[in-house]
């Protein structure tokens, strides 16, 4: 009991510290292959929430372009990108973090949007309103949501 309480407190502290200070989009360090070796938040990703981000239109909406067999209960998967089945067999966690944060660092000119990028857009809008963005644009996903999606992708193993 006591141990659990202490552990929880420690986790909460770590999470609090991490949340107060995630790596900002402009400070992300990609390696030469486009991977991001270190966590953006220091807090382990929550695969369940990552799953939710992947299927939610206003968040990742990854299924708009990718088919995922493990998400067969979600209707309408797209065909624009490759199937994500077995993604964790093909990529390391660092690779996947880089791919979700900014896939253009791995695949030059790819159609896949960058989900953790702050500047450098042409005519950035305020979400899906069609109006100009006011002030600095928050990335599409938060640092923790990136970690959550990466945690979910790490569950996509076929071997």
């Amino acid at each position: 009991m006591r141990l659990t309480t202490t552990t929880l407190a420690a986790v909460a502290l770590a999470a609090g510290a991490a949340l107060a200070n995630p790596v900002t989009p402009n400070d992300v360090q990609f390696d030469e292959y486009g991977a991001i070796p270190t966590s953006l938040t220091g807090t382990a990703g929550d695969a369940e929430n990552g799953r939710n981000v992947m299927i939610t239109r206003s968040k990742g909406n990854c299924v708009a372009c990718h088919a995922v067999s493990a998400l067969a209960d979600v209707p309408f998967h797209g065909e624009v990108g490759p199937s994500l089945d077995g993604a964790a067999d093909r990529w390391t966690e660092a690779d996947l973090r880089g791919l979700v944060a900014n896939a253009k660092m791995t695949f030059e000119g790819t159609m896949m949007p960058a989900f953790y990028k702050g500047t450098g857009f042409v005519r950035p809008g305020d979400g899906y309103t069609g109006k100009a963005a006011e002030g600095e644009l928050p990335p599409i996903l938060t640092a923790q949501e990136i970690e959550d999606v990466v945690a979910y992708l790490m569950t996509l193993k076929e071997e």
């Binding site: 209707p75 065909e79 624009v80 159609m111 857009f121 005519r123 950035p124 963005a133």
Partner: protein
């Protein structure tokens, strides 16, 4: 029916593999309206549409049920708006107390072939004019009447009425001479990746036509069928309203309907469809 189904299957395979089957090309999904107007829904891409071999009407990508609605004017909900356009045609409006008919008489005769060549250069005004711009120029300067809103219902009705007089004729928009600079500007816009999603028209409609994006079957984004009746909003939709929706979906600040940017984009997109038939009003989901 069976032949049609088989054709569809071939089409699906052709799209999926990106191959064109010469042997089946002339029998692929036929659109014949009212049993008499034969539409060209697939044909060789014009030379200036560099990255496509074949241009394909948006009709080809729709479901069987939606396709059917466009095959007979009694089933096509867009035709109601053509009738409304006809009322507008004959309606006296403005300080000059004239209607469109006062100057242009029979729409069937005077407007035949017009839609197929718009947008086009207007020598007197020294500008590229879309059909909507020309309609509003007549209202303002010939009739002394209020302009229609650029994407308004009345504008869409009038565009549909005028377009129907060109149904079945090949789109044949000029891209050189005085319009060339505008055409180049439109091309630039077509390939510019906008918004927080950093997507261009080409990403979806050139690189991925035939693919599903969530629940949508991507077409080539051709405008030979505009204005189109959409089952989703149960009205006629203009090309600029569609452009605006697509740009918005890239999480970008859109351009305004009727803006110089969208006029240029319309000229460029229309020219990508040179050779397809004018289909308006077509039916979409």
């Amino acid at each position: 029916m069976t032949i049609k189904a088989a054709t569809r299957a071939t089409t699906a395979i052709a799209l999926a593999t990106g191959l064109a089957f010469a042997a089946t090309a002339d029998e692929s999904a036929d659109l014949v309206v009212n049993g008499e107007i034969e539409m060209v829904t697939r044909t060789a891409a014009p030379e200036h549409t560099e990255n496509l071999d074949e241009i394909i009407s948006g009709w080809v990508f729709r479901s069987d049920e939606t396709q059917q609605l466009q095959m007979d004017d009694f089933d096509n909900p867009g035709m109601i708006f053509v009738d409304q356009g006809m009322d507008q045609w004959n309606e006296v409006a403005g300080s000059a107390e004239k209607s469109c008919a006062s100057c242009h008489e029979n729409v069937e005769d005077s407007m035949a072939g017009v839609r197929a060549v718009y947008p086009k250069w207007n020598e007197e005004a020294g500008e590229v004019r879309t059909l909507a711009m020309q309609i509003n120029d007549c209202r303002e300067n010939q009739m002394g009447a209020e302009k229609y809103g650029y994407t308004s219902g009345q504008m869409a009705n009038m565009e549909a009425l005028i377009s129907v007089q060109s149904r079945g004729l090949p789109v044949n928009v000029a891209i050189d001479g005085p319009v060339q600079a505008t055409w180049e500007a439109g091309k630039e816009l077509y390939y510019t990746r906008t918004g927080q999603l950093e997507l261009s028209c080409a990403n979806c409609h050139e690189d991925n036509y035939g693919n599903m994006i969530r629940a949508d079957h991507l077409s080539q984004g051709q405008i030979n069928g505009f204005p189109v009746y959409r089952l989703k909003n149960a009205k006629l939709n203009t090309a600029h309203a569609r452009f605006k929706g697509c740009v918005r979906d890239t999480r970008a600040e859109t351009y305004k309907p009727g803006s110089a940017e969208f006029v240029a984009l319309e000229l460029y997109v229309a020219s990508r469809g040179n050779g397809l038939s004018v289909e308006a009003p077509s039916v979409r989901n």
